[in-house]
Protein backbone atom coordinates (compact mmCIF):
# COMPACT_ATOMS: atom_id res chain seq x y z
CA UNK A 1 0.00 0.00 0.00
CA UNK A 2 1.53 3.31 -1.10
CA UNK A 3 0.02 6.20 0.82
CA UNK A 4 0.40 9.92 0.26
CA UNK A 5 -0.64 12.27 3.07
CA UNK A 6 -1.17 15.94 2.24
CA UNK A 7 -0.13 18.13 5.14
CA UNK A 8 -1.02 21.75 5.85
CA UNK A 9 1.39 24.04 7.67
CA UNK A 10 -0.88 26.24 9.80
CA UNK A 11 -0.80 28.41 12.93
CA UNK A 12 -1.41 26.58 16.19
CA UNK A 13 -5.10 26.06 17.00
CA UNK A 14 -4.84 28.38 20.02
CA UNK A 15 -3.16 31.18 18.02
CA UNK A 16 -4.37 34.74 18.41
CA UNK A 17 -4.82 35.96 14.85
CA UNK A 18 -3.52 39.26 13.46
CA UNK A 19 -2.42 40.58 10.08
CA UNK A 20 0.36 42.75 8.65
CA UNK A 21 1.16 44.50 5.37
CA UNK A 22 -2.18 46.37 5.15
CA UNK A 23 -3.98 43.27 6.45
CA UNK A 24 -2.86 41.31 3.40
CA UNK A 25 -0.62 38.82 5.16
CA UNK A 26 -0.88 36.71 8.27
CA UNK A 27 1.29 37.97 11.14
CA UNK A 28 3.71 35.09 11.72
CA UNK A 29 5.65 36.98 14.40
CA UNK A 30 6.05 34.82 17.50
CA UNK A 31 3.60 32.21 16.17
CA UNK A 32 4.04 28.50 16.33
CA UNK A 33 3.15 26.54 13.20
CA UNK A 34 1.87 22.98 13.29
CA UNK A 35 0.55 20.14 11.17
CA UNK A 36 -3.17 20.95 10.95
CA UNK A 37 -5.24 18.87 13.42
CA UNK A 38 -7.19 17.14 10.63
CA UNK A 39 -4.01 16.18 8.77
CA UNK A 40 -2.46 15.00 12.01
CA UNK A 41 -5.31 12.49 12.22
CA UNK A 42 -4.97 11.72 8.49
CA UNK A 43 -1.28 10.92 8.97
CA UNK A 44 -2.04 8.85 12.07
CA UNK A 45 -4.56 6.78 10.11
CA UNK A 46 -1.90 6.21 7.43
CA UNK A 47 0.48 4.99 10.14
CA UNK A 48 -2.27 2.65 11.43
CA UNK A 49 -2.67 1.23 7.91
CA UNK A 50 1.08 0.78 7.51
CA UNK A 51 1.34 -1.00 10.86
CA UNK A 52 -1.52 -3.35 9.98
CA UNK A 53 -0.86 -4.01 6.29
CA UNK A 54 2.62 -2.71 5.53
CA UNK A 55 3.47 -0.13 2.89
CA UNK A 56 5.06 3.27 2.65
CA UNK A 57 3.91 6.72 3.68
CA UNK A 58 4.91 9.91 1.91
CA UNK A 59 4.04 13.33 3.29
CA UNK A 60 3.66 16.30 0.97
CA UNK A 61 3.06 19.99 1.35
CA UNK A 62 3.26 23.05 -0.87
CA UNK A 63 5.26 25.82 0.75
CA UNK A 64 8.49 27.74 1.14
CA UNK A 65 11.48 26.51 3.15
CA UNK A 66 9.74 27.66 6.38
CA UNK A 67 7.39 24.64 6.21
CA UNK A 68 10.22 22.10 6.48
CA UNK A 69 10.03 21.74 10.29
CA UNK A 70 6.37 20.76 9.84
CA UNK A 71 7.34 18.11 7.28
CA UNK A 72 10.11 16.90 9.60
CA UNK A 73 7.46 16.44 12.28
CA UNK A 74 5.45 14.30 9.85
CA UNK A 75 8.60 12.23 9.26
CA UNK A 76 9.09 11.95 13.03
CA UNK A 77 5.52 10.74 13.47
CA UNK A 78 6.10 7.95 10.96
CA UNK A 79 6.15 9.09 7.32
CA UNK A 80 8.96 7.45 5.34
CA UNK A 81 9.78 10.35 3.09
CA UNK A 82 8.44 13.77 2.15
CA UNK A 83 7.97 16.18 -0.72
CA UNK A 84 7.96 19.93 -0.51
CA UNK A 85 6.68 21.70 -3.60
CA UNK A 86 8.59 24.95 -3.55
CA UNK A 87 5.76 27.49 -3.97
CA UNK A 88 3.65 29.81 -1.83
CA UNK A 89 0.28 28.06 -1.31
CA UNK A 90 -2.24 30.80 -2.10
CA UNK A 91 -4.99 29.12 -4.07
CA UNK A 92 -6.51 25.64 -3.66
CA UNK A 93 -6.65 24.86 -7.37
CA UNK A 94 -2.99 25.75 -7.75
CA UNK A 95 -2.01 23.62 -4.72
CA UNK A 96 -4.06 20.68 -6.02
CA UNK A 97 -2.49 21.00 -9.47
CA UNK A 98 1.01 20.92 -7.97
CA UNK A 99 0.29 17.87 -5.80
CA UNK A 100 -1.45 16.05 -8.68
CA UNK A 101 1.69 16.62 -10.74
CA UNK A 102 3.79 14.82 -8.09
CA UNK A 103 1.23 11.97 -7.92
CA UNK A 104 1.39 11.47 -11.70
CA UNK A 105 5.00 10.37 -11.42
CA UNK A 106 4.58 8.35 -8.15
CA UNK A 107 1.52 6.06 -8.31
CA UNK A 108 -0.13 6.04 -4.86
CA UNK A 109 -2.97 3.75 -3.81
CA UNK A 110 -4.45 6.15 -1.28
CA UNK A 111 -4.12 9.88 -1.01
CA UNK A 112 -5.27 11.23 2.35
CA UNK A 113 -5.92 14.84 3.22
CA UNK A 114 -7.47 16.41 6.31
CA UNK A 115 -11.11 17.49 6.22
CA UNK A 116 -9.98 21.10 5.92
CA UNK A 117 -6.99 23.24 6.72
CA UNK A 118 -7.60 25.52 9.68
CA UNK A 119 -6.42 28.68 7.89
CA UNK A 120 -8.76 28.99 4.90
CA UNK A 121 -11.04 26.05 5.84
CA UNK A 122 -11.64 25.24 2.20
CA UNK A 123 -11.52 21.46 2.22
CA UNK A 124 -11.01 21.64 -1.54
CA UNK A 125 -7.57 20.28 -2.34
CA UNK A 126 -8.28 16.54 -2.02
CA UNK A 127 -11.36 16.58 -4.22
CA UNK A 128 -9.61 18.73 -6.80
CA UNK A 129 -6.72 16.25 -6.93
CA UNK A 130 -9.23 13.43 -7.47
CA UNK A 131 -10.89 15.30 -10.32
CA UNK A 132 -7.59 16.23 -11.98
CA UNK A 133 -6.49 12.58 -11.84
CA UNK A 134 -10.02 11.27 -12.57
CA UNK A 135 -10.10 8.95 -9.57
CA UNK A 136 -12.58 8.24 -6.76
CA UNK A 137 -12.85 10.41 -3.67
CA UNK A 138 -14.70 10.52 -0.37
CA UNK A 139 -14.71 13.59 1.86
CA UNK A 140 -15.11 13.84 5.63
CA UNK A 141 -14.30 10.21 6.43
CA UNK A 142 -14.77 9.11 10.06
CA UNK A 143 -13.82 5.48 9.64
CA UNK A 144 -11.72 3.54 7.17
CA UNK A 145 -11.32 -0.19 6.53
CA UNK A 146 -9.12 -1.69 3.84
CA UNK A 147 -9.51 -5.01 2.13
CA UNK A 148 -7.93 -6.55 -0.94
CA UNK A 149 -8.67 -4.20 -3.82
CA UNK A 150 -11.19 -1.99 -2.06
CA UNK A 151 -11.73 0.41 0.80
CA UNK A 152 -14.85 0.75 2.93
CA UNK A 153 -15.35 4.19 4.38
CA UNK A 154 -17.89 5.67 6.72
CA UNK A 155 -18.83 9.26 7.02
CA UNK A 156 -21.39 11.39 8.67
CA UNK A 157 -23.54 13.41 6.33
CA UNK A 158 -26.08 16.11 7.19
CA UNK A 159 -29.00 14.18 8.63
CA UNK A 160 -27.42 10.74 8.79
CA UNK A 161 -24.44 8.62 7.94
CA UNK A 162 -23.32 6.59 4.95
CA UNK A 163 -20.98 3.71 4.23
CA UNK A 164 -19.15 3.83 0.92
CA UNK A 165 -17.20 1.21 -0.96
CA UNK A 166 -14.42 2.49 -3.13
CA UNK A 167 -11.80 1.13 -5.52
CA UNK A 168 -8.14 2.22 -5.56
CA UNK A 169 -6.58 4.63 -6.21
CA UNK A 170 -8.66 6.89 -4.06
CA UNK A 171 -8.52 10.29 -2.40
CA UNK A 172 -10.09 10.68 0.99
CA UNK A 173 -10.26 13.51 3.46
CA UNK A 174 -10.15 12.43 7.06
CA UNK A 175 -11.52 13.96 10.20
CA UNK A 176 -12.27 13.04 13.78
CA UNK A 177 -12.74 9.31 14.16
CA UNK A 178 -10.44 8.22 11.33
CA UNK A 179 -7.72 7.67 13.95
CA UNK A 180 -8.04 7.55 17.71
CA UNK A 181 -5.53 10.15 18.93
CA UNK A 182 -2.86 11.94 16.89
CA UNK A 183 0.42 10.04 17.14
CA UNK A 184 3.06 11.80 19.21
CA UNK A 185 6.57 11.45 17.79
CA UNK A 186 8.92 9.43 20.00
CA UNK A 187 12.54 10.46 20.52
CA UNK A 188 13.68 7.68 18.20
CA UNK A 189 11.30 8.95 15.51
CA UNK A 190 12.62 12.48 15.88
CA UNK A 191 16.23 11.26 15.51
CA UNK A 192 15.34 9.14 12.48
CA UNK A 193 13.39 11.96 10.84
CA UNK A 194 16.61 13.91 10.33
CA UNK A 195 17.92 11.23 8.01
CA UNK A 196 14.73 10.58 6.07
CA UNK A 197 14.55 12.05 2.56
CA UNK A 198 12.82 15.43 2.21
CA UNK A 199 12.66 16.07 -1.52
CA UNK A 200 12.17 19.53 -2.93
CA UNK A 201 10.18 19.77 -6.15
CA UNK A 202 9.89 22.93 -8.25
CA UNK A 203 6.28 23.91 -9.11
CA UNK A 204 4.85 23.80 -12.60
CA UNK A 205 3.59 27.10 -14.02
CA UNK A 206 0.03 27.74 -12.89
CA UNK A 207 -1.85 30.97 -12.32
CA UNK A 208 -3.74 31.43 -9.06
CA UNK A 209 -7.50 31.34 -9.66
CA UNK A 210 -8.20 33.37 -6.53
CA UNK A 211 -6.28 36.05 -4.62
CA UNK A 212 -6.83 37.15 -1.03
CA UNK A 213 -6.92 40.96 -1.06
CA UNK A 214 -7.10 41.56 2.66
CA UNK A 215 -8.22 40.16 5.99
CA UNK A 216 -10.28 41.55 8.80
CA UNK A 217 -11.14 40.50 12.32
CA UNK A 218 -14.74 40.03 13.50
CA UNK A 219 -16.21 43.00 15.35
CA UNK A 220 -16.04 42.45 19.06
CA UNK A 221 -19.33 41.80 20.78
CA UNK A 222 -21.10 44.42 22.87
CA UNK A 223 -20.83 43.79 26.61
CA UNK A 224 -22.58 40.71 27.90
CA UNK A 225 -25.85 41.40 29.77
CA UNK A 226 -25.69 39.55 33.08
CA UNK A 227 -28.86 37.98 34.41
CA UNK A 228 -29.56 36.95 38.03
CA UNK A 229 -29.25 33.13 38.27
CA UNK A 230 -32.38 33.10 40.46
CA UNK A 231 -34.44 34.89 37.83
CA UNK A 232 -34.58 32.77 34.69
CA UNK A 233 -37.98 34.25 33.86
CA UNK A 234 -36.09 37.47 33.18
CA UNK A 235 -33.67 35.68 30.84
CA UNK A 236 -36.57 34.16 28.92
CA UNK A 237 -38.22 37.60 28.73
CA UNK A 238 -34.99 39.13 27.32
CA UNK A 239 -34.63 36.36 24.74
CA UNK A 240 -38.22 36.86 23.65
CA UNK A 241 -38.64 40.64 23.81
CA UNK A 242 -35.14 42.04 23.31
CA UNK A 243 -33.22 39.44 21.30
CA UNK A 244 -36.38 38.08 19.63
CA UNK A 245 -34.93 34.60 19.23
CA UNK A 246 -37.61 32.54 21.00
Amino acid sequence: MKILVCISHVPDTTAKISFVNDNKDYNKEGQQFIIGPNEELALTSAIDIKEAKGGTITAITVGQAEVEPTLRKALAMGADDAFRVNAEPKDALNVATQIAEVIKSNAYDIIITGRESIDYNGGQVGEMIAEILDIASVSGVNNLELEEGKATLQREIDGGFEKIECEFPLVLSGQKGIAAEPKIPAMRGIMMARRKPLNIVEPIAFEDATVVLEHSLPESKAACTMVDPEDMTELVRLLHEEAKVI
Binding site: Q124, E127, A130, S139, E167, E214, V227, P229, I246
Partner: protein
Amino acid sequence: MSVLVYTENWDGQFKKLSFELVSYARTIANQMSTDVVALSIGELADDELAKLSNYGADKILNLASEDYKEFNAQHYSNAIFEASKKEQSNVLIFANNIRTRAIAPRTTVKLDAGFVSGCVAAPESVEPFIVSKKAYSGKAFARVQINKDNKILSLNQNSFGINEDAKTANIEAFDCPISASKSKVIELKKNTGKMSVLDAEILVSGGRGLKKAENFALLEESTEILGATATVACTKPVADLEWRPHSEHVGQTGKVVAPNLYFAVGISGAIQHLAGITSSKVIVSINSDKDAPIFEASDYGVIGDAMEVMPKLNAALKAFKENM
Protein backbone atom coordinates in the same frame (compact mmCIF):
# COMPACT_ATOMS: atom_id res chain seq x y z
CA MET B 1 -24.89 34.10 -18.74
CA SER B 2 -26.76 32.86 -15.70
CA VAL B 3 -26.26 32.01 -12.06
CA LEU B 4 -26.68 28.29 -11.40
CA VAL B 5 -27.57 27.19 -7.89
CA TYR B 6 -27.31 23.58 -6.74
CA THR B 7 -30.12 22.92 -4.25
CA GLU B 8 -30.34 20.10 -1.75
CA ASN B 9 -33.24 18.03 -0.54
CA TRP B 10 -33.90 15.36 2.07
CA ASP B 11 -36.85 12.98 2.24
CA GLY B 12 -38.67 14.58 -0.67
CA GLN B 13 -38.39 18.14 0.58
CA PHE B 14 -35.94 20.95 0.02
CA LYS B 15 -33.65 21.63 2.92
CA LYS B 16 -34.15 25.11 4.32
CA LEU B 17 -30.65 26.03 3.20
CA SER B 18 -31.76 25.59 -0.42
CA PHE B 19 -34.04 28.62 -0.09
CA GLU B 20 -31.16 30.60 1.36
CA LEU B 21 -28.94 29.51 -1.55
CA VAL B 22 -31.56 30.59 -4.11
CA SER B 23 -31.94 33.95 -2.31
CA TYR B 24 -28.16 34.36 -2.47
CA ALA B 25 -28.07 33.41 -6.15
CA ARG B 26 -30.90 35.92 -6.82
CA THR B 27 -28.92 38.75 -5.28
CA ILE B 28 -25.85 37.92 -7.37
CA ALA B 29 -27.94 37.52 -10.53
CA ASN B 30 -29.40 40.99 -9.90
CA GLN B 31 -25.88 42.39 -9.52
CA MET B 32 -25.04 40.84 -12.89
CA SER B 33 -28.46 41.52 -14.54
CA THR B 34 -28.99 37.89 -15.35
CA ASP B 35 -31.18 34.89 -14.45
CA VAL B 36 -31.13 32.31 -11.69
CA VAL B 37 -31.30 28.68 -12.73
CA ALA B 38 -31.82 26.22 -9.87
CA LEU B 39 -30.81 22.60 -10.22
CA SER B 40 -32.52 19.92 -8.16
CA ILE B 41 -31.25 16.35 -8.12
CA GLY B 42 -33.61 13.72 -6.74
CA GLU B 43 -37.27 12.85 -6.86
CA LEU B 44 -39.38 15.82 -5.82
CA ALA B 45 -43.01 16.64 -6.52
CA ASP B 46 -43.70 19.58 -8.83
CA ASP B 47 -45.26 21.70 -6.10
CA GLU B 48 -42.13 21.20 -3.98
CA LEU B 49 -39.89 22.12 -6.94
CA ALA B 50 -41.99 25.22 -7.63
CA LYS B 51 -41.15 26.55 -4.14
CA LEU B 52 -37.75 27.62 -5.46
CA SER B 53 -39.42 30.29 -7.59
CA ASN B 54 -40.66 31.98 -4.39
CA TYR B 55 -37.08 32.94 -3.64
CA GLY B 56 -36.08 34.15 -7.07
CA ALA B 57 -35.41 31.18 -9.37
CA ASP B 58 -36.25 31.95 -13.01
CA LYS B 59 -35.89 28.36 -14.14
CA ILE B 60 -35.80 25.02 -12.33
CA LEU B 61 -33.89 22.06 -13.75
CA ASN B 62 -35.22 18.78 -12.42
CA LEU B 63 -32.86 15.81 -12.55
CA ALA B 64 -35.03 12.95 -11.26
CA SER B 65 -33.23 10.01 -12.92
CA GLU B 66 -32.86 6.78 -10.93
CA ASP B 67 -29.13 6.94 -11.72
CA TYR B 68 -28.78 9.78 -9.26
CA LYS B 69 -30.67 8.14 -6.43
CA GLU B 70 -27.46 7.51 -4.56
CA PHE B 71 -25.01 10.30 -4.00
CA ASN B 72 -21.83 10.06 -6.04
CA ALA B 73 -19.42 12.99 -6.17
CA GLN B 74 -18.25 12.21 -9.69
CA HIS B 75 -21.76 11.83 -11.13
CA TYR B 76 -23.18 14.82 -9.31
CA SER B 77 -20.34 17.16 -10.23
CA ASN B 78 -20.60 16.05 -13.84
CA ALA B 79 -24.36 16.73 -13.93
CA ILE B 80 -23.77 20.19 -12.45
CA PHE B 81 -21.04 20.81 -15.01
CA GLU B 82 -23.36 19.76 -17.87
CA ALA B 83 -26.17 21.94 -16.50
CA SER B 84 -23.82 24.91 -16.31
CA LYS B 85 -22.77 24.40 -19.94
CA LYS B 86 -26.38 24.13 -21.07
CA GLU B 87 -27.40 27.26 -19.18
CA GLN B 88 -24.16 29.11 -19.96
CA SER B 89 -23.72 29.74 -16.25
CA ASN B 90 -20.60 31.58 -15.22
CA VAL B 91 -21.42 31.73 -11.51
CA LEU B 92 -22.26 28.58 -9.56
CA ILE B 93 -23.60 28.55 -6.02
CA PHE B 94 -23.27 25.66 -3.55
CA ALA B 95 -23.94 25.10 0.13
CA ASN B 96 -20.88 24.52 2.31
CA ASN B 97 -21.36 21.04 3.76
CA ILE B 98 -19.89 17.54 3.59
CA ARG B 99 -21.53 16.62 0.31
CA THR B 100 -20.99 19.85 -1.55
CA ARG B 101 -17.40 19.81 -0.37
CA ALA B 102 -17.08 16.70 -2.50
CA ILE B 103 -18.70 18.13 -5.61
CA ALA B 104 -17.87 21.86 -5.74
CA PRO B 105 -14.05 21.35 -6.00
CA ARG B 106 -14.55 18.77 -8.77
CA THR B 107 -16.82 21.18 -10.66
CA THR B 108 -14.14 23.86 -10.19
CA VAL B 109 -11.58 21.69 -11.98
CA LYS B 110 -14.02 20.85 -14.81
CA LEU B 111 -14.85 24.52 -15.38
CA ASP B 112 -11.33 25.82 -14.70
CA ALA B 113 -13.06 28.17 -12.27
CA GLY B 114 -12.03 30.17 -9.24
CA PHE B 115 -13.65 28.76 -6.10
CA VAL B 116 -14.26 30.63 -2.86
CA SER B 117 -15.68 28.46 -0.09
CA GLY B 118 -17.40 29.61 3.07
CA CYS B 119 -18.75 32.90 1.71
CA VAL B 120 -20.68 35.00 4.23
CA ALA B 121 -22.15 37.79 2.08
CA ALA B 122 -23.04 38.69 -1.49
CA PRO B 123 -20.06 39.82 -3.60
CA GLU B 124 -19.16 43.45 -2.91
CA SER B 125 -18.48 43.80 -6.62
CA VAL B 126 -18.92 41.51 -9.62
CA GLU B 127 -16.46 43.33 -11.89
CA PRO B 128 -13.85 42.58 -10.55
CA PHE B 129 -15.47 39.74 -8.64
CA ILE B 130 -14.74 40.22 -4.92
CA VAL B 131 -16.43 38.30 -2.12
CA SER B 132 -15.85 37.88 1.63
CA LYS B 133 -15.37 34.52 3.29
CA LYS B 134 -14.64 33.21 6.73
CA ALA B 135 -11.06 32.27 7.45
CA TYR B 136 -9.04 30.90 10.33
CA SER B 137 -12.02 28.87 11.54
CA GLY B 138 -14.16 31.93 12.12
CA LYS B 139 -11.42 33.96 13.78
CA ALA B 140 -11.09 36.23 10.73
CA PHE B 141 -12.61 37.18 7.38
CA ALA B 142 -10.84 37.35 4.03
CA ARG B 143 -11.80 39.42 0.97
CA VAL B 144 -11.04 37.30 -2.05
CA GLN B 145 -10.91 38.24 -5.72
CA ILE B 146 -11.62 35.63 -8.38
CA ASN B 147 -9.53 35.99 -11.51
CA LYS B 148 -11.30 33.43 -13.70
CA ASP B 149 -14.27 33.78 -16.06
CA ASN B 150 -16.13 31.07 -14.15
CA LYS B 151 -16.78 31.62 -10.47
CA ILE B 152 -17.89 29.11 -7.86
CA LEU B 153 -19.02 30.14 -4.40
CA SER B 154 -20.10 28.06 -1.44
CA LEU B 155 -22.23 29.84 1.14
CA ASN B 156 -22.08 29.27 4.88
CA GLN B 157 -25.51 28.32 6.16
CA ASN B 158 -27.50 31.06 7.96
CA SER B 159 -25.03 33.74 6.94
CA PHE B 160 -27.14 35.35 4.21
CA GLY B 161 -30.76 34.67 5.13
CA ILE B 162 -33.85 33.80 3.13
CA ASN B 163 -35.52 36.50 1.02
CA GLU B 164 -38.83 36.05 -0.74
CA ASP B 165 -38.81 37.24 -4.33
CA ALA B 166 -41.49 35.45 -6.34
CA LYS B 167 -40.79 34.69 -9.99
CA THR B 168 -42.63 32.63 -12.57
CA ALA B 169 -40.36 29.71 -13.20
CA ASN B 170 -40.64 26.78 -15.58
CA ILE B 171 -39.73 23.34 -14.34
CA GLU B 172 -37.65 21.62 -16.99
CA ALA B 173 -36.65 17.95 -16.94
CA PHE B 174 -32.90 17.48 -17.12
CA ASP B 175 -30.80 14.37 -17.50
CA CYS B 176 -27.19 13.53 -17.95
CA PRO B 177 -25.87 9.99 -18.53
CA ILE B 178 -23.57 8.62 -15.84
CA SER B 179 -20.20 6.97 -16.30
CA ALA B 180 -19.07 3.79 -14.54
CA SER B 181 -18.87 4.25 -10.77
CA LYS B 182 -15.57 4.18 -8.94
CA SER B 183 -17.34 4.24 -5.59
CA LYS B 184 -20.77 3.34 -4.30
CA VAL B 185 -22.86 3.91 -1.20
CA ILE B 186 -23.52 0.52 0.38
CA GLU B 187 -25.42 1.71 3.42
CA LEU B 188 -27.31 4.88 4.27
CA LYS B 189 -28.73 5.56 7.67
CA LYS B 190 -30.88 8.59 8.32
CA ASN B 191 -31.13 10.10 11.76
CA THR B 192 -34.67 9.79 12.97
CA GLY B 193 -36.54 12.71 14.47
CA LYS B 194 -33.54 14.63 15.69
CA MET B 195 -32.41 17.66 13.79
CA SER B 196 -28.69 17.90 13.00
CA VAL B 197 -26.76 20.61 14.88
CA LEU B 198 -26.15 22.29 11.52
CA ASP B 199 -29.85 22.61 10.74
CA ALA B 200 -31.08 23.49 14.21
CA GLU B 201 -32.19 27.03 14.96
CA ILE B 202 -31.56 26.67 18.68
CA LEU B 203 -28.65 24.73 20.16
CA VAL B 204 -28.42 23.86 23.84
CA SER B 205 -24.77 22.95 24.19
CA GLY B 206 -22.96 21.48 27.16
CA GLY B 207 -19.34 21.37 28.28
CA ARG B 208 -17.37 19.57 30.92
CA GLY B 209 -19.05 21.80 33.50
CA LEU B 210 -22.01 19.42 33.34
CA LYS B 211 -19.78 16.90 35.13
CA LYS B 212 -21.34 13.70 33.76
CA ALA B 213 -23.24 12.32 30.79
CA GLU B 214 -26.51 11.88 32.75
CA ASN B 215 -26.69 15.61 33.42
CA PHE B 216 -27.24 16.26 29.72
CA ALA B 217 -30.83 15.21 30.43
CA LEU B 218 -31.33 18.81 31.62
CA LEU B 219 -30.28 20.06 28.18
CA GLU B 220 -32.43 17.51 26.41
CA GLU B 221 -35.35 18.71 28.48
CA SER B 222 -34.70 22.29 27.29
CA THR B 223 -34.70 21.19 23.65
CA GLU B 224 -37.97 19.34 24.16
CA ILE B 225 -39.56 22.48 25.57
CA LEU B 226 -38.10 24.67 22.82
CA GLY B 227 -39.49 22.45 20.07
CA ALA B 228 -38.48 20.67 16.91
CA THR B 229 -35.90 23.21 15.76
CA ALA B 230 -33.85 22.86 18.96
CA THR B 231 -31.22 20.21 19.58
CA VAL B 232 -28.37 19.35 21.94
CA ALA B 233 -24.73 20.08 21.08
CA CYS B 234 -21.48 19.69 22.99
CA THR B 235 -17.79 20.61 23.21
CA LYS B 236 -14.82 18.51 22.08
CA PRO B 237 -13.90 17.25 25.58
CA VAL B 238 -17.48 16.07 26.09
CA ALA B 239 -17.41 14.13 22.79
CA ASP B 240 -13.95 12.76 23.62
CA LEU B 241 -15.26 11.55 26.99
CA GLU B 242 -18.11 9.89 25.06
CA TRP B 243 -20.75 11.66 27.08
CA ARG B 244 -22.27 12.69 23.74
CA PRO B 245 -21.86 11.50 20.13
CA HIS B 246 -19.22 13.16 17.94
CA SER B 247 -21.96 14.32 15.58
CA GLU B 248 -22.88 16.91 18.24
CA HIS B 249 -19.32 18.25 18.65
CA VAL B 250 -19.22 21.96 17.84
CA GLY B 251 -15.90 23.77 17.36
CA GLN B 252 -12.82 24.09 15.19
CA THR B 253 -12.41 20.35 14.56
CA GLY B 254 -16.12 19.60 14.85
CA LYS B 255 -19.01 21.49 13.33
CA VAL B 256 -19.08 25.21 12.75
CA VAL B 257 -22.63 26.28 13.51
CA ALA B 258 -24.72 29.41 13.01
CA PRO B 259 -27.99 29.03 14.94
CA ASN B 260 -30.28 31.87 16.00
CA LEU B 261 -29.70 31.01 19.63
CA TYR B 262 -26.80 29.15 21.24
CA PHE B 263 -26.91 28.19 24.91
CA ALA B 264 -23.40 27.46 26.24
CA VAL B 265 -23.93 25.53 29.46
CA GLY B 266 -20.90 24.73 31.58
CA ILE B 267 -18.62 25.72 28.68
CA SER B 268 -15.57 27.81 29.59
CA GLY B 269 -15.02 29.05 26.03
CA ALA B 270 -11.74 27.65 24.71
CA ILE B 271 -10.70 29.46 21.53
CA GLN B 272 -11.24 26.27 19.49
CA HIS B 273 -14.84 26.08 20.70
CA LEU B 274 -15.50 29.79 20.13
CA ALA B 275 -14.30 29.39 16.54
CA GLY B 276 -17.27 27.10 15.93
CA ILE B 277 -19.98 29.31 17.44
CA THR B 278 -19.15 32.94 16.66
CA SER B 279 -21.68 33.08 13.81
CA SER B 280 -24.55 32.38 16.20
CA LYS B 281 -26.99 35.27 16.30
CA VAL B 282 -27.36 35.26 20.10
CA ILE B 283 -25.19 33.44 22.62
CA VAL B 284 -26.33 32.79 26.19
CA SER B 285 -23.81 31.34 28.61
CA ILE B 286 -24.31 29.73 31.96
CA ASN B 287 -21.12 29.18 33.92
CA SER B 288 -20.08 29.15 37.56
CA ASP B 289 -16.75 30.86 36.80
CA LYS B 290 -17.35 34.60 36.38
CA ASP B 291 -13.99 34.95 34.58
CA ALA B 292 -14.74 32.25 31.98
CA PRO B 293 -13.83 33.56 28.48
CA ILE B 294 -17.23 32.41 27.17
CA PHE B 295 -18.83 35.52 28.71
CA GLU B 296 -16.78 37.77 26.42
CA ALA B 297 -18.35 36.05 23.42
CA SER B 298 -21.85 36.07 24.89
CA ASP B 299 -24.84 38.38 24.64
CA TYR B 300 -26.39 37.18 27.88
CA GLY B 301 -24.62 35.59 30.82
CA VAL B 302 -25.69 33.79 33.97
CA ILE B 303 -23.13 33.15 36.69
CA GLY B 304 -24.16 29.98 38.46
CA ASP B 305 -23.92 26.23 38.66
CA ALA B 306 -25.48 24.68 35.56
CA MET B 307 -27.20 21.99 37.64
CA GLU B 308 -28.97 24.64 39.69
CA VAL B 309 -29.67 27.12 36.89
CA MET B 310 -30.91 24.70 34.20
CA PRO B 311 -33.98 23.43 36.12
CA LYS B 312 -34.98 27.06 36.74
CA LEU B 313 -34.41 27.93 33.09
CA ASN B 314 -36.43 24.92 31.97
CA ALA B 315 -39.29 25.90 34.28
CA ALA B 316 -39.21 29.47 32.93
CA LEU B 317 -39.11 28.25 29.31
CA LYS B 318 -42.02 25.92 30.00
CA ALA B 319 -44.10 28.69 31.55
CA PHE B 320 -43.27 30.93 28.58
CA LYS B 321 -44.27 28.27 26.02
CA GLU B 322 -47.51 27.52 27.87
CA ASN B 323 -48.52 31.17 27.87
CA MET B 324 -47.84 31.68 24.20
